[in-house]
């Protein structure tokens, strides 16, 4: 058995203590776990094939057999929402992974280099930031051609400047730390300093930001799918489902409502987790 150090995340008593201190984070974590289980085990959880068309049962209201009802070609909405988590959450994670990796590297480099390099990089980022993010993502996605993959790339590019700024700020603050200056005094090179001192210490706020971003990325991806630039038929994706279900809202309320709720709950889940992580990783609130 792993001996859990007191105050580490392997200490169950400590975890329970944190849950009591911040129940909202626990709720967020539960939501995320549920969603992730849906993503991983969709074929076992979903009662029906998400793409099986059954025109006889089209637009059926929620029932025991179809808990969320069916859509205009009789596909089971419950199964589609579960399978949709793969597209939506997968794309959210992928977007954040891409933009975080690229953005953090550029930012840490820029902050440590300083001077003209830093100025040039940051002005480019300012230009990227000066477009409204959704408009920018739409333009990129339209230029690349409508598909889920291109939507993902577009949103990732739009999110990069936020990580650049965050990582640069961290690098600027950290390079003044005495332990970084001490490393300079015994002759450490910039790359070693970034690897040993800057990145490990800059990571906490970046992880928090990325958690908060996953919710946002899911929303943006859904928005792109909603206007037809993301997931294409017959892929189950929450934004696309809301988009097509919109015209049925008045008579068949369940069609757009359940995918919409899935977006809402998942995005809030990631936000609650991110807020909680921010408190948890803040050394001032940590228990010693």
């Amino acid at each position: 058995m792993i001996s859990a150090r007191k105050g580490s995340l392997l200490d169950w008593g400590y975890l329970w203590y944190q849950v009591r201190r911040s129940p909202l984070m626990a709720v967020g974590t539960l939501i995320i776990l549920t969603v992730l289980i849906c993503t991983a085990f969709a074929p076992w959880i979903a009662p029906h094939d998400p793409n099986a068309i059954n025109l006889i049962k089209r637009l059926a209201p929620p029932s025991l057999e179809h808990p969320f009802g069916t859509d205009e070609v009789g596909r089971d909405l419950f199964s589609r929402v579960i399978y949709g988590s793969r597209a939506s959450v997968g794309i959210g994670l992928a977007i954040v992974a891409i933009s975080m990796t690229i953005g953090t590297s550029i930012g840490a480099f820029s902050g440590l280099a300083g001077g003209r390099t830093d100025t040039v990089i940051m002005r480019v980022m300012d230009v990227l930031l000066s477009f409204p993010p959704l408009v920018m993502a739409m333009a990129l996605a339209a230029a690349l051609g409508p598909s889920l993959f291109n939507a993902m790339l577009a949103i990732a590019v739009v999110r990069i400047p936020f990580y650049v700024r965050l990582a640069r700020g961290q690098a600027l603050a950290l390079r003044e730390r005495p332990y970084v200056r001490a490393a300079v005094t015994f002759g450490a090179r910039p790359l070693g300093i970034v690897r040993r001192h800057i990145l490990p210490n800059a990571l906490a706020p970046i992880i928090v930001q990325s958690t908060l971003d996953i919710g946002l990325a899911i929303l943006t991806a859904s928005a792109l799918s909603f206007i037809g630039l993301g997931a294409q038929q017959p892929t189950a994706e929450w934004g696309a489902m809301v988009s097509t279900g919109r015209q049925f809202l008045l008579d068949q309320w369940w069609y757009p409502t359940f995918p919409g709720l899935a977006i809402l709950v998942t995005a809030s889940g990631f936000n609650l987790l991110g807020d909680g992580l921010r408190d948890l990783l803040d050394p001032r609130t940590r228990v010693r």
Binding site: K6, G7, G13, Y14, Y17, R177, P178, Y179, R181, A182, A183, V184, T185, F186, G187, A188, R189, G192, R196, H197, P200, N201, P283, V287, R288
Partner: protein, 707 residues
């Protein structure tokens, strides 16, 4: 029996009365018993000191008196707090607010945090005045001006229009004092109000506070870690240790004949009273964990006098008929083990004196030639700097192999800039740093990296000088990884060797920095500096962030390492008593220049430059209680973006005369020291007491002599 009880007998209730207060902070590991049975009385018009090291509970005690601690983070589990006859534990938040400010004022350590940075000083003062008194805006302004004048602020009209960031730390603290006294409070609680200030400013602020408190008859509870400040200011003292008061009495009693072994040990560990360059007596062990403190006396495990009886918690026992008392069984005359314990303690606490080391001053290790550093400020439309901060203005120093040279001065004097230039962290604007024959700032990068191994640095704050996410063995041996590319196994071995050398348990080196105490972290930082076997250590305020008992351990370690390894130290500090203890030679800096340079005992026993005199006179001393003298140093440090073209110290100098309007150069005095003052031979002989060389008598005579 206790002082507090005696106060009550006199019939008048004391303005502050804590009895048997118990307060806890609930945490995951259990409740931290931060205050455990503290009784404190502050009588009318008294200035009472509350001293202790960090974590002793002194600030928590002060904050709880006016219920300033957030209610959900702590709980009061027993005892009572009475302020001016009101039971503070029963008042509502609204009632508490009217007590704070109207009757009780508080001054904190960090003056910047207590002022609103976006409001002019005048608006803030008026706001405070009008909140508590029904006066018109104009009357409030008049009152504010009067308050500032009371605080000896030179140009109160201008200060009222200033924003906090435009003022110096000492000025801000005086404004906070003005605010605190604006409503003529009956009680003032001051939590380390001068700790962030320079000694000359501290002397001014303390004097003003004392004077103002005496005028208004306020009772003052003064929280500090500095015994010497207590000696100057306070009538009575409480000493706290691990959440309890361990000793109380008048200042003389507690400081000169301490009864509790902790108080005795604490006072003995001060470098001020010790033989220079000899090991200081230290307190063994660590402060106990307050979640689960040991049964019996809290100091037992660190005490040389500990005996069987100490497993039982002692009461505050009165020493003799007076108000003094200590929480120690040694004060119980009926204690059968007392004599044996006293003998045992006497035997144990003598550190072996070291043979006086002959200063083997070898050749020159480091030479600083006419070093200048300036920093650009702002930029105009062409991108050129608007002004320059002149941090160093021509420093010449020579460091000989094997000596300890102390650089002493107040904030803004350039001592840290000097240290950074020597470490190659800053490129000087002009001048040279020559380390064993090589010009440091004109070397190709590869040779620079080679040379760097021979001088290393230890910073002030042990917390931030270690990477929190790096295990300690890696931190200690990072230089070896960088400079010698040693494999991990070899580094691990070297880490335990270095750890042992600085007194760390080699088994603990897998841990992370936050698992160590402040003193241990400083040991880690020293071990890292020693990893490459350097010749020179630049010590940038290495003990300023530490408690005195820990400071003693670190100073002992540094002295021992110097003997064992033949190191050379450049010791940057603001603390004169530390200089006296460790230094062979001293350079006193003022406004980016060395104003006096010579052997440490000579300069400290008989300073010659007027600034050195002022500095030494401002240092609070434990051994001698004297009246606080507020007006020794006039004015503020000159703005170092526009250097004066006269003697830098002229405007503040009490001996200024003709000839002082020229720039001064370092001249050799009769005893071989260097002094940057053309009149140094004409000045009256040094005396700590200000009255013996009063300025008004001296001025005319001086100007005649200076022609």
């Amino acid at each position: 029996m206790e002082a507090s009880d005696m106060m009550n007998l006199s019939g008048i209730e004391a303005p502050i009365q804590l009895s048997d207060l118990r307060l806890e902070f609930p945490t995951y590991g259990g409740a931290v018993k931060a205050i455990d049975g503290v009784s404190i009385t502050v009588g009318k018009g008294e200035i009472v000191g509350l001293v202790g090291e960090s974590g002793s509970g002194k600030s928590v005690t002060a904050m709880s008196i006016i219920r300033l601690l957030p209610p959900d983070s702590q709980r009061i589990v027993g005892g009572s707090i009475s302020v001016l006859g009101r039971d503070m534990l029963q008042l509502s938040e609204g009632e508490l607010q009217s007590v704070r400010g109207d009757d009780v004022a508080m001054v904190f350590q960090e003056p910047m945090n207590a002022l609103n940075p976006t409001m002019r000083i005048g608006d803030q003062l008026r706001q405070v005045i009008r909140r508590h008194q029904k006066v018109s805006e104009a009357e409030a302004t008049a009152r504010a001006l009067e308050l500032l004048r009371d605080m000896r602020i030179g140009d109160p009209d201008r200060v009222l229009r200033n924003y906090p960031f435009e003022l110096s730390g000492g000025m801000r603290q005086r404004i906070l004092l003005a605010m605190a006294f604006s409503c003529r409070p009956d009680v003032l609680i001051a939590d380390e109000p001068t700790t962030a200030l320079d000694v000359t400013i501290q002397a001014q602020v303390l004097a003003l506070m004392q004077q103002k408190a005496r005028e208004t008859g306020s009772s003052v509870l003064f929280i500090t870690h500095d015994m010497a400040v207590v000696a100057q200011l306070c009538d009575r003292v409480y000493v706290m240790y691990a959440g309890q008061v361990v000793e109380q009495g008048t200042t003389e009693e507690v400081l000169y004949t301490p009864q509790h072994p902790y108080t005795q040990a604490l006072l003995r560990s001060l470098p001020e009273l010790a033989e220079p360059q000899q090991p200081l007596p230290t307190i063994q062990g660590l402060v106990p964990n307050l979640i689960d403190p040991p049964a019996g006396c809290r100091f037992r495990e660190r005490c040389h006098f500990a005996h069987q009886r100490c497993h039982e918690m002692p009461e505050m026992l009165a020493a003799d008929g007076t108000g003094r008392a200590a929480r120690c069984w040694l004060l119980d005359p009926t204690n059968p083990e007392r004599e044996a314990a006293l003998e045992q303690g006497r035997q144990a606490q003598r550190p072996d004196p070291l043979p006086r080391a002959e200063l083997q001053s070898g050749g020159t290790l480091l030479e600083i030639q006419n070093l200048e550093v300036r920093f650009p400020v702002g930029a105009d439309w062409r991108g050129r700097p608007k002004a320059f901060v002149h941090a160093l203005n021509g420093v010449d120093l020579e460091l000989r192999r094997g000596e300890t040279l102390a650089i002493v001065g107040e904030s803004g004097c350039g001592k840290s800039t000097l240290g950074q230039s020597i470490m190659g962290l800053l490129t000087p604007t002009a001048g040279k740093v020559v380390f064993s024959g090589k010009d440091l700032h004109n070397l190709p990068p590869q040779q620079m990296r080679e040379l760097r191994r021979r001088f290393q640095v230890v910073f002030q704050d042990p917390q931030s000088s270690l990477n929190p996410r790096m295990p300690v063995w890696k931190a200690i041996t990072e230089p070896l990884l960088v400079a010698e590319k040693l494999p991990a196994r070899a580094r691990r071995e070297r880490a335990s060797e270095l750890g042992r050398q600085v007194g760390l348990n080699p088994d603990h080196l897998e841990r992370y920095p936050h698992e160590f105490s402040g003193g241990q972290r400083q040991r880690i930082a020293i071990a890292r500096a020693l990893a490459l076997q350097p010749d020179l250590l630049v010590l940038d305020e290495p003990t300023s962030a530490l408690d005195v008992s820990v400071q003693a351990q670190i100073l002992n370690l540094l002295l021992r390492l110097k003997r064992e390894l033949g190191l050379t130290y450049l010791f940057i500090t603001h603390d004169v008593s530390v200089v006296r203890h460790v230094a062979d030679r001293v350079a006193v800096m003022y406004l980016g220049q060395v104003v006096e340079l010579g052997s440490a005992p000579e300069i400290i026993e008989a300073p010659q430059h007027p600034y050195t005199r002022t500095l030494l006179r401002s240092v609070p001393e434990l051994s001698r209680r004297r009246e606080l003298a507020p007006a020794d140093l006039q004015g503020e440090l000159p703005n170092n973006t526009r250097l004066p073209d006269t003697c830098f110290f002229r405007d503040r100098c009490r001996y200024a005369a003709s000839g002082c309007e020229q720039l001064q150069s370092l001249t050799t005095a009769s005893d071989g020291r260097l002094v940057r003052c053309h009149r140094h031979a004409l000045l009256p002989p040094w005396s700590v007491e200000q009255s013996s060389d009063a300025s008004h008598e001296e001025r005319p005579a001086g100007s005649a002599a200076g022609r």
